[in-house]
């Protein structure tokens, strides 16, 4: 992986405890709730955040999502990009 990436394959990303991540029936999506904020998440983003428990490694997450989204091209890069953005936003840490 690129050296300037925050997450390496062996890292175990974890949701920042300030954030609440859960399914919201009325919006038919997973949402991220934080002080005065709401983020509605796409299906793939939700699958990634679901696994940011501090237990799965980035490599585990990539492997599991490859099974889930078999048709998605270049999913590994998308996952890394999402993790980096989520980290910058403060949603997840290592």
């Amino acid at each position: 992986m690129s050296e300037n990436m925050y997450f390496q394959p062996e890292h175990r990303p974890r949701l920042n405890p300030t954030y609440v991540f859960r399914w919201e029936k009325s919006q038919d999506t997973f949402v991220l709730l934080y002080p005065e904020g709401i983020v509605k998440l796409s299906a793939s983003a939700s699958e990634i955040l679901k696994r940011c428990t501090g237990e799965s490694t980035v490599a585990d997450i990539v492997a599991e999502l490859k099974d889930l989204f078999v048709d998605a091209a270049d999913i590994e890069r998308s996952i890394h990009r999402f993790l980096e953005v989520s980290h910058v936003k403060g949603w997840i840490g290592n």
């Binding site: 300030t18 009325s26 709730l33 934080y34 002080p35 005065e36 904020g37 709401i38 509605k40 910058v88």
Partner: protein
Amino acid sequence: MSKAGSAISLDGQGKPMWLLLELTYRCPLKCVWCNNPLDFEKYDKQELSTEEWKRVLHEGRELGALQLGFSGGEPLLRDDLEELVEEAERLGYYTNLITSGVGLTPERLQALKKAGLKQIQISLQSANRSLTNELCGARAHDLKVKVARLIKAEGFPMVLNVPICRQNIDQAEEILALAEDIGVDYLEFANIQYYNWALLNREELLPTREQIEHAEAAVAAARERLGKRMIIYFVVPDYYASRPKACMNGWGTIHLTIAPDGAALPCQEVRVIEGLEFPTVREHSLDWLWNDSPLFKKFRGDEWMQEPCRTCAEKEKDFGGCRCQAFLLTGDAANTDPACAKSPHHYVIEMAVNKARQKHHEPRPLVRRQRGAVTTAFME
């Protein structure tokens, strides 16, 4: 009223994702920019009961509300606050308490934590004792700082909200340092929006452009230094932007406010617009109020727009700005918000800005929010 985090546009698919409960207009403070109505005391005897608020919570969740704010006035003046937080948590809301901090004892903090409260927003008016006390009309500074530290010690995420005006804006560095020392998670430099009490005092409160630029530079430097340790919001006041704010993310799109008397409002200030009816949850279901009441339909979408909004390429971006500001400053709530440089009424904003710049400004006493401070007979 724009809040931290609400700056980005959000598609709620027609659901009121943001529910704000103004539990009471009563408050121990007398802030000179209070956004409660000038005749707030009129509502004292009309506050909803615990059971009525619980019904609002229930119906709000059915409608798809997610974020919940307990506000006021000072919501801690309601001794059923803990009970309402508990009910809201049970229903699946993300609960935010928006408070002055006055009355937040260690016992109540623990009870709120136990009830499941997620987050606390506390206001602080400046970085020093005498100015804070002057602006909020009470000896509250030391107490607020103490309470802010208690909130962090109790493990709550915390927003520190500093209403920004001419009197405190030059303290940006000191405020940043104090917030950092307290361990604030989110610091919001909330440039005052000029409605109700703030509008009465606008001439004394509006900062100059130079002051705003200085404060913005201080914020930029702090962001650089602090990274993610403290998120800092600084929204340029609409008087100094050439486009209006996307007020409430559009009328009746995601925000629903319930006033102390149960009136369902598209925003907290909307009762300043004359000629509208404000039905309450006592007579109607929340579903009807949100989806079908004439009030919520009045400025929903863009059918109501006049020129220059009607044909403007940016109307999807700012929704024509704020209806209350359009009414207060131009006399017609369907006009373009005069904060927009394209508005034919933009001169009223420019005049206010020019006045703020005048060097030999003769200061007038600030009008404090209190009973009987102003006569509202002319509003009847």
